[in-house]
Symmetry: C2
Subunit: 378 residues, 2 copies
C-alpha cells in the first residue's frame, strides 16, 4: 500500500487536538474535517457546486446504497463515482457494513459475510469483506473502509467480543482483497482504513485496536459508536481509542455527530467526522444556530422576520426570514430542504473551521468552554 500522506501541522498543548493535512490525488483535506454524507451519490438537497462553495473538502458516500442502485459496475463503466456525480474532490466510501446491519432485512451472518435482503425491493444479496472491497474499488473512492460488523447497543460482553473478533478477521481479509485489486481500475491512489469495534467495553476496544495495528492500515476509524449509548461512554471510548492509535495516522469517528460531539471529540484527538445530522435534520426543520438549535415549524416563528441565526453569514441567513422558512416547511416545498440543508451544512463546516482556527491560534480551550455553554450535549 502507498503510504498516505498525513502531515500534522499543529499539536494543541492542552488537549489531544491537532491540525493536519491529508493529501490525496483528488486534493488536500484539512483536518479536523467534517465530511457531508452523499448517500446515493448526492448530498441530499445541495448541488455539487454548492458543496464546493460551502468549502466541503471531502464527502462520504455509501457503498450499500450505490451497490444496490445504480450498481458499482455501472458507476465504474461511467468513470467511477467522481466522474459519475461530477465531484472532483476526495471521496470516502464506507464498507456497507453499517447499512447492512441497520437498513436491510433478513440478515444472516456467517464467517464469510452477510446475506441480506435489499431495503429497496427485497432482493437477496451477499456482502463479504472481499465483495465490499471490490465494490469500493469499482466506485473509485480515495479512502475506503474495511468491512466490519457493527455490534448493536446494548450488547453483552461475549456478543461484542465475538463481533470484534469477526471484525478483525474481516479487516485482514479486507486488506488482502484491497492489495489484490487496487491499482487496476484507476490512475488515482486509493487507501484502506481499518475500523475498531468493541462496543462500550474498554478492554475490547483496546485489544481490537492493538490487533488492527498489527494488520497495519494508513488510517483508523472508530465504529459502532453513536448507536444509542450514553454520551459519556462514547467520549470515553473515543478517548481510549485515540490514546492507542499511532499519532502519525488520521483517526476517523464514524457517523458522529452533534456540533457538541465534534468539539468534544476533536479535543480527544479525532481528525475526521461524518454524519447525516446536518442534512437529515435540515429536512426535518431542525436548524443549528450558534446559540443552540431551533425547530422552524414552531408557531413562534410564524411572523419572525429575522434570520435563522443572527450570527450566521450564510447566504440563507443573509436573505431569508424564519417566517418564510417556516412557511416553506409547512407547505412541504423543496426549497425548504434546499435552504435548510445549505444553512446546516454551512453551520457544521463553519464550526469546524472555527475550531481549526482556535487550535491554530492556541485558543482552543477558551473556544471549547464558550461552545459548551451554548451547544447542548445531545
Amino acid at each position: 500500500m502507498h503510504p498516505l500522506q498525513f502531515h500534522i501541522t499543529h499539536q494543541d498543548n492542552a488537549t489531544k487536538a491537532r491540525l493536519g493535512t491529508i493529501v490525496t490525488d483528488h486534493g488536500e483535506i484539512q483536518t479536523p474535517v467534517f465530511m457531508p454524507v452523499g448517500t446515493a451519490g448526492t448530498v441530499k438537497a445541495v448541488t455539487q457546486q454548492q458543496l464546493v462553495d460551502l468549502g466541503a473538502e471531502i464527502i462520504l458516500s455509501n457503498t450499500y446504497h450505490l451497490y444496490l442502485r445504480p450498481g458499482h459496475q455501472l458507476i465504474r463503466e461511467l468513470g467511477g463515482l467522481h466522474s459519475f456525480m461530477s465531484w472532483a474532490r476526495p471521496i470516502l466510501t464506507d464498507s456497507g457494513g453499517f447499512q447492512v446491519f441497520s437498513i436491510s432485512s433478513l440478515r444472516h451472518i456467517t464467517e464469510e459475510g452477510v446475506a441480506f435482503r435489499s431495503h429497496l425491493d427485497g432482493s437477496s444479496h451477499f456482502l463479504s469483506p472481499e465483495k465490499a472491497i471490490e465494490i469500493q474499488i469499482c466506485l473509485g473512492a480515495d479512502l475506503l473502509m474495511a468491512f466490519d460488523e457493527c455490534t448493536a447497543y446494548p450488547s453483552d460482553f461475549l456478543i461484542t467480543r465475538e463481533g470484534m473478533e469477526r471484525t478483525l478477521r474481516w479487516a485482514r481479509k479486507s486488506k488482502e482483497a484491497f492489495e489484490t485489486h487496487k491499482g487496476v481500475s484507476w490512475p488515482h491512489r486509493q487507501w484502506l482504513f481499518g475500523i475498531g469495534q468493541g462496543g462500550i467495553y474498554p478492554e475490547l476496544r483496546r485489544e481490537c485496536i492493538d490487533r488492527l495495528l498489527d494488520i497495519d492500515f494508513p488510517g483508523y476509524a472508530m465504529g459502532g459508536l453513536s448507536v444509542g449509548e450514553p454520551k459519556n461512554l462514547m467520549y470515553e471510548m473515543v478517548d481510549l481509542s485515540t490514546d492507542r492509535f499511532p499519532v502519525e495516522k488520521p483517526r476517523y469517528l464514524m457517523g458522529v455527530g452533534t456540533p457538541r460531539d465534534l468539539v468534544e471529540c476533536i479535543v480527544r484527538g479525532v481528525d475526521m467526522f461524518d454524519c447525516v445530522m446536518p442534512t437529515r435534520n435540515a429536512r426535518n426543520g431542525w436548524l443549528f444556530t450558534r446559540e443552540g438549535h431551533i425547530v422552524i415549524k414552531n408557531a413562534q416563528y410564524a411572523k419572525d422576520a429575522g434570520p435563522i441565526d443572527p450570527q450566521c453569514q450564510c447566504s440563507v441567513c443573509r436573505r431569508y426570514s424564519r417566517a418564510y422558512l417556516r412557511h416553506l416547511f409547512h407547505a412541504n416545498e423543496i426549497l425548504s430542504a434546499i435552504l435548510n440543508t445549505h444553512h446546516n451544512l454551512y453551520f457544521y463546516l463553519d464550526t469546524i473551521q472555527q475550531i481549526r482556527d482556535a487550535i491554530a491560534s492556541r485558543n482552543l480551550l477558551n473556544y471549547v468552554t464558550e461552545f459548551r455553554s451554548k451547544q447542548e450535549i445531545a
Copy 2:
C-alpha cells in the same frame, strides 16, 4: 389607475409578434416574456438567486395558495410577497379563480362569488371579486388579475355565455375594488389586468373582449384556454383575441404552455406567458431539448454519459450526465428535482430569448419554421 408603461420596440413584418418592455417599480420586463410559476411563494426546487441567474424577469404566484397558507395578512405584515420571499423583481398574482375551479372541492357559485372547501384541510372559504382583489393588494404584486369564472372544456354555448357574462360583471367589480384599495399599502404601483373568457366560441370571445375594453384595463389576458381543447382551437381563440386587443397594451395568455405553444402564440401577438410545465415536468423527469423532449427515467439513458441536450449551455448540461440524472430520478433524490428544474427553466427562458432575438433580427419566420420541425405540437 396609473397608466402602465408598455413600450413596443419592434413590430414583426410578417407576423403579429412584437418586442416590448413593461416598466414596473420592481424593474423592467422584456416581452415576449415567460413567467416561472411560484405557486406558494417559491418556484419549486429553485432558489431566488438561481431565478435571477436564469434571467427570470418576473414570476407568477398563486393567490389561492397564498391566501390559504400562510395567509395574505401575514404576508402583508411581513412587508408583502416581494419581501416575504426575498424577490426584488416584478410579481404577477393570479386571481385565485382558476384554482378555485380546478383544485378546491364543494364549489358553489353565486353572483357574489364562490364558496369552496380548501384542498389542504377542507375548511370553508369564500372568494369574491372584492376579496380576490383585497388579497392580491395585500400580497403586493405588481400585476394583479381580475376575478373571473373559468369555464370548463367542453361546455355548451349557453353555459359558456353565462360564465362570460359573470366574468364581465366580476371584472367591473374587480376594477372598482382595485380602485378603492390600491395605493394604501405599498409605495410601489400596482396594475389590474382584465381577463377574457368565452370558451371556444369566437363570438363570445370577441364580445367579452369588446365589453372588457369598455371597462378599460392596462393589460388584457386570455383565460380558459389550454384546458383540454384541441390546439388548433386554442390558437384560433388566441388569434381572434389579439386581433381585438388594443395594440398598445400587453396581452397575456394564461397557463400556456409547451415550447411550441409559446412560438405559435408569439407569432399570433401574445406578449406574456406562464405555465407550470417546465417545473412540474422536470419533477416528473420530462426534460426539454432543442430536438424535442426526453423522459429521463427510461432505460436507454442508464449508461448515457452525454448531457440532457448537447446544444444546451446550462450549468446542468455542462456538468451532469443523463446517466447520473436518471439515477437521481430513480433514487427519488431532491437533487433530481433541482437539476431537472434548472435545466427546463433554462430551456424555456433561453427559447424565449432566442425568439426575441429572431424578432429583433427580422428572422422570426425562419426561426419558427426550424422550431416547428423539431418541437412537437403537444
